[in-house]
Symmetry: C2
Subunit: 376 residues, 2 copies
Amino acid sequence: MSEPREAICLIAASEADSNLYYACRFLAPDPFVFFEVAGRKILLLSDLELDRGRSQARVDEVLSRSHYEDKARQRGTAKPTVIDSLAVVLNEYEVTDLAVPGNFGLEYADQLRERGYRVRTKPEPFFESRIRKTEEEIAHIEETQRHTEAALDAALAVLREADIRGDAVYWRGKVLTSEDLKKVINVTLMEHDCVAQHTIVACGLDGVDPHNQGSGPIRPHQSIVLDIFPRSGRTRYYSDMTRTVVKGRASDPLRRMYDAVLAAQLRGIEMVRAGVEGQEIHAEVARILERHGFETGLVGGRMQGFFHGTGHGLGLEVHEPPRVSKVAWVLHPGYVVTIEPGLYYPEWGAVRIEDLLVVEEHRCRNLTRFPKFLEL
Amino acid sequence: MSEPREAICLIAASEADSNLYYACRFLAPDPFVFFEVAGRKILLLSDLELDRGRSQARVDEVLSRSHYEDKARQRGTAKPTVIDSLAVVLNEYEVTDLAVPGNFGLEYADQLRERGYRVRTKPEPFFESRIRKTEEEIAHIEETQRHTEAALDAALAVLREADIRGDAVYWRGKVLTSEDLKKVINVTLMEHDCVAQHTIVACGLDGVDPHNQGSGPIRPHQSIVLDIFPRSGRTRYYSDMTRTVVKGRASDPLRRMYDAVLAAQLRGIEMVRAGVEGQEIHAEVARILERHGFETGLVGGRMQGFFHGTGHGLGLEVHEPPRVSKVAWVLHPGYVVTIEPGLYYPEWGAVRIEDLLVVEEHRCRNLTRFPKFLEL
């Protein structure tokens, strides 16, 4: 009997699985196999991907899946599946145990277990190093952020150019809508090879639901939350930024909400540095909003006030560890996090302000350059 | 002892899981629970999504996850996970067995099994009805296809406007590249709220690898494969189209390749109707290419000729069942499939032509209107 030997294993389409893309830096639309054993990274690819994999993937070896299908056939499997081929490879590497991510497909796992492999899930962050960004990764995020700011700039230029007439805003002779502003943002992003799946341009009551993307006419004198979080098609890295503006004049309560959120955000940013507990930042941000007189809680069955986390990590996903929230997370150098307090009241509107920070030893570096102002 | 009672269950982010979006028509970026028992569709949503879920989801009931977390706490679970809450719900519905898709996360499955649930994977197509498109779904696909054609039109307008100088193509004073054409395509798509993750504009040798997206200068007198497969941001439905063109004059072998692929494609389309075996279409397409003198096989370790499937289903994913390939699949009314033969030779270049068809009783309906021509 040989000793147990564990490999890390992922089977997915790297376009849809950031851990896999992180592990091998090879982008493919269809599922393929990655495993790592004794420090050696190996891909098992179909013939269609073999050449591209060998030239692009950052791994130690790229194996041909059809080669191992042939071997499986020689051993009596008439129609080898990807798991049959993988079993032949794992046998050659004397692997007995597999550590897989939580989202590993149950169908693959059950097939591997039937063949006698021990399969255990390893919790996120699956690759501990992914949370701490390299200089190369930070440069990618910052580049996406520059394009994000160009897109917001284009949208605000439209808002400035537009005219208020009664309770509507007109642009180039037509009623200006959330959809118009989103299109300006998304087209500007696409000109820089960035794709935003769900740009938020949420005016008035729409903005009071933080997940509402916004639709219909832009109203004057109401809050407009613009939250833009595209991925770069070239590097695969995201950025994320929110600004809140008013076309016209903000009401007094809205102006006070804005001032409170800005104060809380600036204090939150000030606290971001190596060794700080994300929980503490979140608690302090919530305290500042409360001290400004803005309370949080259920009113008529609906949450109002500040009822989401203060921030989240970002990289190959728009939301990834760490969290800056009620959950415990100590920040370390190289973490990239958002700080984005918000206030939401059906009566007055919504305000959220979000910057993107790199945690450094004694401070943080703000990747966001876009100015903060309310009225335009 | 009660009888076993099985529910269908999915836990995923519907933005990333088309089965889940298909099941409930509710789009969310974070994982949530769907289950269906005794013909009743139910969602379990966080407070943040509850209101939106109740107004948008096409289900029978939307339950509050925090309500069931409270119940789990009352039963002694200090920090209830999503599985703890789900277990309380399943208990109320007397569910003992779960049928889940193959990509169901192993972490969730193991937690459910530890609690005594029998969890089995059900193979794709998980929802049999998803393969047969409704009139509403076909209308969505066709709408995306119209935008895809507008985007190709914009790219070909650039190619027509461009000038050949020596072995380069110039547009607006600069060397025209694949990247330029992709930008024109992707920006045009974005203007119609469509997102193309991986537009292919592959000139010459780039096109000979069917998965190469293409890069660098466009060369005159060489094949340019343009393959565009965006998703509509509004409806979530894809389309897919390929054309091959030459800026300048095609060589004789390239012209013959084009004629062979076009003949094979037209014959393939002619065969698409209810009751036909996809395998037969694929075999006939391959036969026509061979009869035109184009052989398929390994040359110097690399596949050349026709070495991919003839077509695939399409809908909420760009690739979904059925296949029109070596694998057996009988076509039925309402299936939407591509027919896209291709030829790839390092010596001469690449040709692929792809249309999108709806299977009908005695014929098919072509959703693609874009003309087919080689030189411009």
